[in-house]
Point group: C2
Chain length 150, copies 2
DNA sequence: GCTAATTCCGACCAACTTACTAGGAATTAC
DNA sequence: GTAATTCCTAGTAAGTTGGTCGGAATTAGC
């Protein structure tokens, strides 16, 4: 029951973009440095995120990535869905693809999976990138303080 | 965010054992047949379940597997944990292993993962095998009706 | 005691996924 | 023109998944 690092890295990268929102595009080099991630790998993840319409890429010198929408309008669930696929513990309760389980009516396990799916979706969709920015508790780190106003 | 078939198969097998609870051990052959699973593969899963103390194996002719506790006392979460490991979306919010994340205090993503973990645990631990038995909605199938009284 | 049924155990395997690295083409600010 | 960047594709080592197979140990019933 783990998400892969794709989702984790993706959220961390999106958090950085959210912190810099409104200040122009952020190059991946910076994001990778701040979050200690492989720049090459991150590049691939951002490609997926871009195709999902969550970020915009600005090419060329002084380019980088920026959020396609405001941090309030992007949920953690959006990012996870883009990188990990639909949020569903088993495929037969996938809200997007639905159907195709021949014994779905008489399946005794369907109920739990549905409840699990719903509670996961509830948590992930009710948390936005803006929430993540607010959430960091005791901010003792003096790294980029003052600038991040997402 | 999927559980593997291990967890799914495991729950289905445990459901069968729950339905037959109190009627002596059920051979894997029967379980595999009823749930349309590979008997060989199921054997491996039952080994894990046995080591986790959830089922008892009875060897020899007329042997099979039976629940180690009553269906009310085994939760879906117990089975998932045995087969898939601790219930946590990312390793740093694993309740069992805990700790070891150097930046855990100032981590902006920790909050979501904790809330996600808690809601998953809540659903999985509050559903018992007995609940699964009750839950099957319109029982039109005349397969083993009358006998299953878990 | 023999036989058939069954758990138990470990080895093997093909396909897939994960988490990368590498290289190069296209685009753009300066 | 040059340096900085995104964009795209290919390769890859290690791990996981979802099995199969063969055989040893145990036991009920004859």
């Amino acid at each position: 029951m783990r998400i892969s690092t794709k989702g984790g890295y993706g959220i961390r990268a999106m958090y950085e973009l959210a912190m810099a929102h409104g200040q122009g595009p952020v190059p991946l080099k910076v994001v990778a440095e701040k979050q200690a991630l492989s720049e090459n790998y991150l590049e691939q993840l951002m490609g997926t995120l871009r195709k999902a319409g969550l970020v915009r890429g600005v090419r060329g010198a002084r380019g980088g990535y920026e959020l396609a929408r405001s941090p309030e309008a992007i949920s953690v669930g959006d990012v996870i869905r883009a990188l990990e696929g639909p949020i569903a513990p088993v495929s037969c309760v996938d809200l997007d693809a639905e159907a195709d389980c021949e014994r779905h009516a008489s399946c005794p396990t369907r109920g739990v999976w549905e409840r699990l799916r719903d509670s996961m979706i509830e948590v992930l969709d009710s948390t936005s990138l803006a929430d993540l920015c607010k959430e960091v508790p005791q901010d003792a780190a003096p790294d980029d303080s003052g600038k991040g106003h997402c």
